[in-house]
Symmetry: C2
Subunit: 156 residues, 2 copies
Amino acid sequence: MSQKFFQDLWPEELSYCFGCGRNNKDGLQIKSYWEGDESLCIWTPKEYLKAGKDILCGGIVATIIDCHCLNTAIAVAYKRETRELGTEPFIPYATGSLRMELKKPIPIQKPIILKAKVDQIQDKKIIVSCLLFSDNILCAKGEIIALRVSKDFWKQ
Amino acid sequence: MSQKFFQDLWPEELSYCFGCGRNNKDGLQIKSYWEGDESLCIWTPKEYLKAGKDILCGGIVATIIDCHCLNTAIAVAYKRETRELGTEPFIPYATGSLRMELKKPIPIQKPIILKAKVDQIQDKKIIVSCLLFSDNILCAKGEIIALRVSKDFWKQ
């Protein structure tokens, strides 16, 4: 596979997020990558992340939507500055708000595919929306507003 | 303490949720209780649940808001039927949608207080909103729409 996962390119010290940090051994470690103008994430849940029997916990659905969309916002910010992903200085964004609709129960045993796209870019704000599929069935939708934050935000 | 935690009263087999199940040893195990017409939840994050240094992961914020609000919806459904919490048959609800605003970074080391209230009750739909405080500072707001589901939904 030749795609670069966004999360593998961020600075070491910013890679401890529960949802997407490659250095968080107890985290979900989701990976996002470009496929054309969409960003994709393929991830398989673990048993302890359930809500009820065999159904993925809604909060974990929110977590993977949030992390996939926020990583996509940062990746598009690099693209917009025609810079290679991961080059210094890092372009910091944080989630300002999130919306999520749960349409169908998401099975815990099967891989999930998230597809995100950038809907709007403003000066300090990027809106990213996301569809979540399991077994080719649309199970959830989400959207975040990502806000540009100061260079020290994630280091405080 | 005389309050009854909602999550301690649900059936054993429905108590494995990552966010709030008392039987999920790897979960967050949040606890919710009535204080007047509000429901409260006091919970302290763990280090591995961070986003960046010392800041709680946004997806975990969504998880505790979702679980606290959904438990509140179920508790109010019992109240509405003038039934004791936890008596059989269990009244099943599931989150249909969630909205969350993150206003300030939430420190990972300090207890969080969630205060939820029921905004609207319809036949098969309960809307619950929630404020999240850390150190007495309002850091996040959330809302869920909880939908009444079939008795087998969580058992499938």
